[in-house]
Subunit: 500 residues, 2 copies
């Protein structure tokens, strides 16, 4: 049995190698690839995806898993091997239902559409992107149909990013959340606006970069196991627990993009860097799910990075980087400014009070596209109408609207809701952390991040993908994913800032 | 039969995808990978290599090739399909003799040793690198033994880089060449030295970069299908005919490194960029061999880039970039300076009169290592002794000696002689070009490179790997690879510069 387990691990290691090689191709595509490389790259990515899929779903893998079932039952259910077998079985069962040809075709379609989207966004031409997105939606429907009968056509997609979660679960959580978010937003809108104009001055890009580097170095990002590059749409990539890279975007006339974007991606990276290195080349490596991942990025970006104690420590340094912009802005004014609530067009730059509404809009549109009640050609109109409805603003161009996010161009349908779920989980964790580290605020005020990072490593990072995301949340916080802690956090914060 | 051919092409396309994905992993390893990524990367590269090897040598591939034999015989032997079948058969026959496990083990050993070599070179510690190189040599012997009986243990390695060429062929060419090179060198040494001190001043790195970019843009490098990055040991990588990247190294106190290095890599890149795009994802894609490749890089670096007409065009621009260094240096003085002959330690910076001697030294050491007449631990001593013998200089550190080149750390044994062969071929081509483009010098003087590039594209680049390298040389120049044109070229050039 030990020998069979070894064989299985070797097969899975090969799949992981292929997946991470593919991840590097994607990283390169977004950071450095010249446009001429696009077509061949889409083939290369598709081949890697297909081979990983073939290997994972081979009859050899299936047989090994079958043979190992009695062995798995004898193991301590919390042991790494037992969890690995569970995760592998789950992945096998799901993937074996999907033909390799479909995996390949989808990967190629996604690869090819990326460059088209980049250009369409730059030139504000949704019509150029439309046929590519239509193809992606059609292929995603075919994919979902591999799992028929399903409760909802969107379930198999969501499950890829958030194992075990159902469309109905998310809809229930969001229904609860939406009313509370809208009501909070109305209360804030009734109060006098805070000033944030000092964030929209001219900021030297190199200095923005340098400050970001200084901040994440202090927090604990390990440059021997990572690097930062520029990307149109920032993201984090990991190729092992020893190579976790972030990207950032610099906007010369708005400080917030790089500042909070860098903290956000660093949060993702700290997660991957903290995974047990013994899980490298195994299905237990990497974060547990996208929502858990987002809980880490949003925690560092918002609960830490937009907190008063954080800026008690870092604001004097920021003032040294940008004396002209900040010498006459008090810490209190700066703190309020970076927490200004103002419904806006771009999700990644949305404040905490409006962010989840951007997500809800996307989830609803994706579900409608998958159900077939919305056609791709009608997407810009539907987008704009819903923006107006939820946020009271509508984009004047598709580049600022339906084309803003990279996800659909990469074929990621089913991904967005994990952002909002991550927000909720971050607050659930935060409440627990406050209990376990009572002097957290004082530590942060002194620039001491090691205890916080240590807590996250022990409770979340170390486990990698060992536990299913909802089990992990339950295990660490004692509750399922729910909106209450996040709404408590928002309400407390904005009550103080806006005097609700 | 058409269907079988299609199936075979699909398998080969997959192999090519895997090879180019692996090439990107290697590019990244040398340009951007943080050190923490090293171990996982070596596994990833090994997995890609092993899968490509498995696919290429599968019984399915073998059967398709067998089935297609009668079909191949009916084809026009010069047709793409006939050539593809020939190349595929050759690759299959060679690779099927090598166990996949050995491919994997070798790839991992090579991957792991790269980082060790980088560090050993930086710290001048050959002893750290020694066990890795011993492992590589041992694995290369195992590899060679897969092809026993062979005439020479080095033959199978050489054949990987230069299909069809034998160790004895190279030794014969080099024996002829060595005497002539040494004699020329002695004649030059007897003449007064020319001044090159103006190349060893301080040169702003950004300006060096910018001038290089300007020069290769003018020559015809297409930035939509490529990019330039910095690397410790410059190289060119291609991932398709639409994505061919170069790297360069900037030395602040010596202009020659970046100047000629950039032209050299651009020469490689122009080759790959000129391959028939229809050969993408096929074994006919990519350059025909390393020697043909080197003929292109050396042609642009030396026969063009160190010629008087080239600098008649570019020197005024260079003076604009570096007025302090060159305003008082005449074109004639500059031209002589960049062609100064001076035996030195570093191969990549060697002048044209001594370069091939560096190569001969490496070839002899590699052969001795493979034969077992030299042990790795004795390599530094053997290196230094031979440097003294051939070039009259010996390194004071291993970093400047046996550790200088990246090749052995990557497992490339059998590679070096192609550099000298490339020099010879470049001169063979150059004589033919002079006949076909009688006013070439005037064109270059006017900064017109399109006719030259067009000639190379038509005669060499376009064909990719369709023809075996020696056949291609014969076809284009009417002769086999030989030293006469190169020695004629060197003698003419140095007679003028040194007044021989």
């Amino acid at each position: 049995m030990e020998n069979k387990l070894k064989q299985l691990k070797e097969i899975l290691a090969e799949c992981v190698d292929l997946m991470y090689a593919g991840a590097l191709l994607e990283w390169d595509q977004q950071c450095y690839m010249p446009t001429g490389g696009s077509e061949a790259r889409s083939y290369q990515m598709a081949t890697l995806k297909r081979l990983a899929h073939q290997r994972l779903t081979s009859s050899e893998t299936g047989q090994l898993l079958e043979d190992l079932k009695p062995y798995a039952e004898q193991l301590d259910p919390d042991s790494d091997d037992a969890c690995l077998l569970k995760v592998a079985q789950r992945r096998y069962d799901k993937n074996v239902k999907v033909p390799s040809e479909l995996v390949m075709e989808f990967a190629r379609a996604a690869g090819a559409s990326h460059v088209v989207w980049t250009k369409a966004k730059a030139e504000n031409k949704f019509s150029d992107f439309q046929p590519y997105l239509e193809k992606i939606i059609a292929l995603r429907r075919q994919y979902a149909d591999c799992f028929a009968p399903y409760t909802h056509v969107y379930d198999p997609l969501l499950d890829d990013f958030e194992a075990g979660l159902k469309t109905a679960d998310v809809q229930a959580i969001f229904a609860d959340l939406r009313a509370q978010q809208v009501s909070l937003l109305q209360e804030i809108a009734a109060r006098p606006q805070v000033d944030a104009s000092f964030l929209f001055l001219n900021f030297d890009e190199q200095k923005q970069w340098d400050f970001g580097v200084e901040a994440i170095t202090k927090i604990g990002y390990n440059w021997e196991c990572g690097r930062q590059d520029k990307a149109v749409h920032p993201f984090t990539s990991n190729f092992s627990s020893g190579d976790v890279r972030i990207t950032t975007r610099l906007t010369p006339d708005y400080l917030g993009t790089a500042l909070f974007g860098t903290l956000h991606e660093c949060g993702h990276a700290l997660y991957e860097l903290g995974v047990n290195p013994a899980y490298d080349r195994s299905l237990l490596g990497g974060g547990a799910s996208l929502a858990i991942h987002e809980s880490q990025s949003r925690l560092w970006e918002n609960l830490v990075g937009r907190s008063f104690p954080f800026w008690q420590y870092f604001y004097p340094r920021l003032q040294e980087y940008f004396p002209a912009q900040f010498s006459n802005v008090s810490l209190e004014t700066f703190y309020k400014g970076i927490n200004q609530v103002s419904p806006s067009l771009i999700r990644v730059e949305a404040d905490e009070a409006t962010y989840n509404l951007h997500i809800m809009l996307r989830l609803e549109l994706e579900i409608a596209l998958m159900e077939g009640s919305l056609e791709v050609k009608d997407l810009p109109e539907a987008w704009n109408a819903r923006m107006k409805d939820y946020l009271g603003v509508a984009p004047s161009t598709d580049s600022e609207g339906v084309l803003q996010d990279i996800h659909w161009s990469n074929g990621y349908i089913g991904y967005f809701s994990t952002y909002a779920l991550g927000n909720l989980i971050s607050a659930q964790l935060w409440e627990r952390i406050q209990t376990d580290i009572p002097d957290l605020a004082d530590q942060i005020r002194r620039g001491e991040f090691a205890p916080l990072l240590g807590w996250l490593r022990e409770k979340i990072h170390h486990h990698g993908s060992k536990y299913e995301p909802q089990d992990l949340v339950q295990q660490v916080t004692g509750s399922k994913i729910n909106a209450a802690p996040y709404m408590r956090y928002l309400r407390a914060k904005y009550s103080e800032i806006y005097g609700l």
